[in-house]
Symmetry: C3
Subunit: 259 residues, 3 copies
């Protein structure tokens, strides 16, 4: 066995895959002793998806040699639908096998679902994503970000984001009028209800709303989302896993430049 | 500001708009110091929608001069979807502006959604609706009226309503057979569970079921609905707002005449 | 009145009809002093549906003379949708009448829905189904059987079932890979959570998954399902009514023979 990874909660990978499903058709899971990683442009080559599941996210993790396993995201979605809400997952790959094995087990070990998935050759396009210094970092409840994107999507295709110390404003101009949602910094007992803004410089940028809605649907992954903004730099939409040390799922989107 | 109206619960206007959506495309909101009023034929000119929101329904209401503001009902639906379930609403119109402003605020004032909606010129067809003296007035739970209309809709297109002191009978004759639902007068602890019939004269009349289903979907507006019936006179389907002094939403439908 | 049958819970017949709806268009209800019975091939003549409601299932049951009443299953579905969740049902047929009467009553008798359904002449094809001696009888939670069928349906059209003393394995081979779900015998406090296998001889057989999914949707009828398997003999999928003495709903499906 070159790769063997046990996940306490199969549902974590299910959410990850659901979040990629609308963007990517086939992806490479890059496996190394550090964990699992996916980096993929979306099918229209506009957005970038970046997933990191550190080995610490797994109850057991063994990877003898770095390798890339190409899989179809839709098929993964169907496999994880087989898992019950509390199932654990074992992922196994034998040296040079042309399939990878997924095994979901209910706690009591009296129901075992397994799937032998055929691997695919996917052209690797490994990208170096430079660590960005964002001018604004905004943390907000992920459910609220999803609602804002969905609501404004009704009125137009382009969303302007304006962020300053006073708050973050999402705006759409459409045929029937102009809509804005403003979130002000907000204290709250529960960290996941807070809105915090770290502002080095106020930023205004516009983005294709269609992608933002897709990113925002990753909300089940984490109760908060972190937006990273800079002038003329890609937007980062990042969901840290429950225990942030275990990894994250991150989306990047280039801004729309005014014609 | 010629018009400024504050509503404690944005959700009230949301329900009103949802109830009109299937019937009307564009409507005039007639504003005066008495409140807001809509009167509109449905697109097929068969049914009539009449809304009254008295100024007492608002926590603040100011209208310096009577005016008609033409709006697209679908757009209004999208705007009110932006409001959270406990949001308050501010409606504002400046003299001769070609837009009207909607602003939803969450209780804590840390989330503000606003929309600047373009106004439309809609040909005004103000109708005088004479106060009717109905032969039968039936009050019943609005959810029950909705279920009856939806269930019988499965079997045919025309519903006969027969009302007398003994009860109200809804009947449909269709290809596969004949269905009836009879509601008898019913006492109940909660007023909204009661069925009461005020009968001056027994009435039998038939109506296009399609419209009744649409009217019945206004059920979220009120836990009870009041049907007004007379021989050969239009049916009235009326939903009084929680506090009846604040206004009502009412639908009228001409009876089908037997060929 | 030749036939008069009162059912405490209209919802029982609703579930029965829902379970037949996808398979049969029109069926004969064979009425006798023993109760009601339906035997019908599905429209593609591949599967067989067999329903028995013994007279003990009814609070009152009277059938003066054996008769077959032909009804449209879709219409029955619409009729039972009229019943509330706690309604009782009266079924009545007068000698040689060309309609049968269904009457749903809410507990308090203040809401009565009735339907006069036109009967149909359906060619009777009464089949004698021989009592089978199955090599394997497996009892499992009906919800779990439904999930297995639905999950595996995503990957292919044919399901192999392998049953032995160690457990029951459901497998599908498809374009993207091979999936298996294994249920091992399982003790549980609640009978409906148990998995039990009575094995005279290990059996392997394959079936069209499409039908299994349809059968499995009868899950609301009973918390457990009983699978009967033999080599080269039809699969039986049986749901006993809550009180098994009252009857059952059973599906039969011929195995796929390997080409």
């Amino acid at each position: 066995m070159v790769l063997e990874a046990h996940l306490q909660q199969a549902v974590l990978l299910k959410k990850v895959v659901d979040a990629m499903k609308e963007l990517c058709k086939d992806v490479n899971f890059d496996c190394s002793e550090k964990g699992l990683q996916v980096q993929s442009m979306d099918s229209s080559h506009v957005a970038l998806v970046s997933l990191l599941l550190r080995e610490s996210a797994f109850t057991e993790f063994k990877c003898d040699r770095a390798t890339s396993l190409g899989m179809n995201v839709d098929s993964l979605g169907k496999i994880f639908k087989m898992c019950g809400p509390t199932d654990s997952l074992k992922l196994r790959w034998q040296n040079d096998a042309d399939t990878v094995n997924f095994q979901c087990e209910s706690g009591e070990d009296d129901r075992i679902a397994d799937f032998e998935l055929k691997l695919m050759q996917i052209e690797s396009e490994h990208m170096e994503i430079p660590e960005q210094q964002y001018k604004v970092v905004a943390k907000l409840p992920s459910a609220e970000f999803l609602k804002v994107c969905r609501d404004l999507k009704e009125f137009g295709e382009t969303m302007q984001i304006q962020a300053s110390k006073d708050g973050i404003r999402f705006s759409v101009q459409g045929d029937v009028g102009t809509g804005n949602v403003v979130l002000k910094p907000r204290e709250a007992d529960k960290p996941e209800d807070r809105v915090t803004l770290t502002v080095h410089e106020a930023v205004t940028a516009t983005f294709a709303l269609r992608y933002l809605v897709t990113f925002a649907k990753a909300a089940p992954l984490s109760s908060t989302v972190e937006l990273g903004l800079g002038p003329d730099s890609p937007l980062s939409v990042k969901y840290e896993l429950e225990n942030a040390d275990n990894g994250y799922m991150q989306f990047y989107l280039a801004p729309k430049i005014d014609e």
